[in-house]
């Protein structure tokens, strides 16, 4: 991978972590926040495909794992799988408009949060109530859905010059 791409993606991830902590975590709806680092992973999958999306998802998840108190590696695993599946799915469907990007961001974020709760249960973390999981999935999905077009644009910038760029004209 081009070192400049790696540097730009790294910069995007650190900036996302700072934005998450300093801004998005402060603005909650029913105690649910946007998940900007997950969004970075999903946008990477949309822009650069499943393999690179999975790598970015893994790194972004590790960055979250370093800042929260939950089994270390579980967020990395969840983000990595979510990005891979999204990137893989994107190769199978016809790519569409800004609205379809937002819907994709919503669905992928919601499923990733459900996945995080399920994986947590598998490694011994007590799962929240189904109602809470649903609330978090829907609200975080809406947050991330709204932010997806901007995230894709930022990821396009980070990946410019790379052969793997997929969403050049969105």
């Amino acid at each position: 991978m081009d070192p400049r791409v790696v540097a730009r993606v790294g910069l995007v991830m650190v900036s996302a972590a700072i934005l998450q902590r300093g801004i998005f975590a402060e603005f909650r709806v029913w105690n649910v926040t946007a998940d900007v680092l997950l969004l970075v992973a999903l946008a990477a999958a949309m822009v650069a495909g499943p393999e690179r999306g999975a790598i970015v998802g893994f790194a972004a998840g590790l960055l979250v794992d370093l800042q929260v108190h939950r089994p270390f590696g579980i967020t990395a695993l969840t983000f990595c799988l979510a990005a891979y599946l999204l990137g893989f799915g994107e190769t199978l469907v016809v790519r569409g408009t800004r609205t379809s990007l937002m819907v994709t961001g919503f669905v992928a974020t919601a499923l990733a949060h459900v996945g995080l709760a399920v994986l947590g249960e598998l490694v011994g973390v007590t799962a929240p109530s189904p109602a809470r999981v649903l609330t978090v999935a829907v609200v975080a999905g809406l947050w991330n859905g709204l932010l997806t077009p901007a995230a894709v644009r930022v990821m396009r910038w980070a990946w410019q010059g790379s052969h793997s760029l997929r969403l050049a004209h969105r």
């Binding site: 972590a17 700072i18 998450q20 902590r21 300093g22 801004i23 975590a25 402060e26 603005f27 909650r28 709806v29 029913w30 105690n31 649910v32 926040t33 998940d35 499943p50 393999e51 999975a54 790598i55 893994f58 590790l62 960055l63 979250v64 794992d65 370093l66 800042q67 929260v68 108190h69 939950r70 089994p71 270390f72 590696g73 579980i74 967020t75 990395a76 695993l77 990595c80 799988l81 891979y84 893989f88 949060h113 995080l116 709760a117 947590g120 490694v123 973390v125 007590t126 799962a127 929240p128 109530s129 809470r132 978090v136 975080a140």
Partner: protein
């Protein structure tokens, strides 16, 4: 045959990432030191940045969060009105309300921390992710704080210190799904274990069927041997008791005494800890 080869490479990458995640989960489960070190280092880097941005955004965020917590504020308002009404009727009945008020005032001065050294700390950031019931405070190892120490506010138990950096600490709230607190009611029979469930207001638990604990009782930390919390810290008020005939126990629902969503300052009790 580029297509299958490409798919094959993708799968190898994915499998490697999954295996790495599983390895990290295993190492963390075994309390692998470098992971804790990396967490402390990351917190030392991001906490001041979060504090800086938080100072700027918090006034607007408070208005925003207030708008989305309207139901919660209304519920608290109703509860407070009810309590006020109860107090007034008691005053009329036997004139003891003044004395009770004095007792209430005394309880706000953290009498449960009497004689125990503590460090006053400001909350600089809430949990950064969903399903993350933690807060970060602006005191750390340089102030004598260690992992496992209890954190309280004037109204009662807040949580436990789980990560410590030089000038910051991460506190896991009692409402976290993995937190268990041993509790009792002063001068009543029966101990209970309360569990967090990710709800910022409620805890649940169980108590022996023969226990004399009733709805409205205030539960305090039991302080039994091996407990990480000193004895006598108020935790929650019993909201409901349901008999579980099959298990032969009573299920408890309890309202957390501290308003965890609106905390600014806490005290870390500098006793115990790892």
């Amino acid at each position: 045959m580029a297509f299958p080869r490409r798919f094959g490479r993708r799968r190898v990458t994915l499998v490697l990432l999954i295996l790495t995640s599983v390895l990290l989960l295993t190492l963390d489960a075994r309390d692998f030191g470098p992971i804790n070190g990396a967490r402390s280092g990351t917190m030392g880097f991001f906490a001041p940045v979060g504090d800086f941005f938080g100072t700027i955004t918090r006034p607007v965020a408070n208005i925003w969060n207030g708008a989305f917590s309207y139901d919660e504020l209304e519920r608290e308002n109703r509860q407070l009105r009810q309590e006020l009404s109860d107090l007034r009727s008691r005053e009329v009945q036997d004139g003891l309300a003044v004395k009770e008020l004095e007792q209430l005032k005394t309880s706000l001065d953290i009498p449960f921390a009497n004689g125990m050294p503590s460090a006053r700390a400001r909350i600089v950031s809430g949990g950064i992710a969903n399903f993350d019931d933690t807060v970060q405070v602006d005191k750390g190892s340089s102030n004598g704080i260690k992992r496992g120490m209890a954190v309280v506010s004037g109204a009662g138990l807040v949580g436990t210190v789980v990560e410590v950096a030089d000038g910051f600490s991460m506190v896991k709230l009692i409402t976290d799904r993995d937190v268990q607190v041993g509790v009792k009611v002063v001068e009543k029979q029966g101990f209970a274990i309360l569990n967090g469930r990710g709800d910022p207001h409620r805890l649940s638990g169980a108590v022996n069927k023969v226990s004399t604990i009733e709805v409205g009782d205030v539960l305090v930390t039991s302080g039994v041997e091996g407990s990480r919390y000193p004895e006598g810290i108020p935790v929650a008020r019993v909201a409901a008791i349901t008999l579980d005939e099959i298990a032969g126990k009573n299920d408890l629902e309890a309202d957390v005494l501290v308003t965890l969503t609106d905390l600014e300052f806490v005290s870390v009790i500098l006793v115990g800890g790892a």
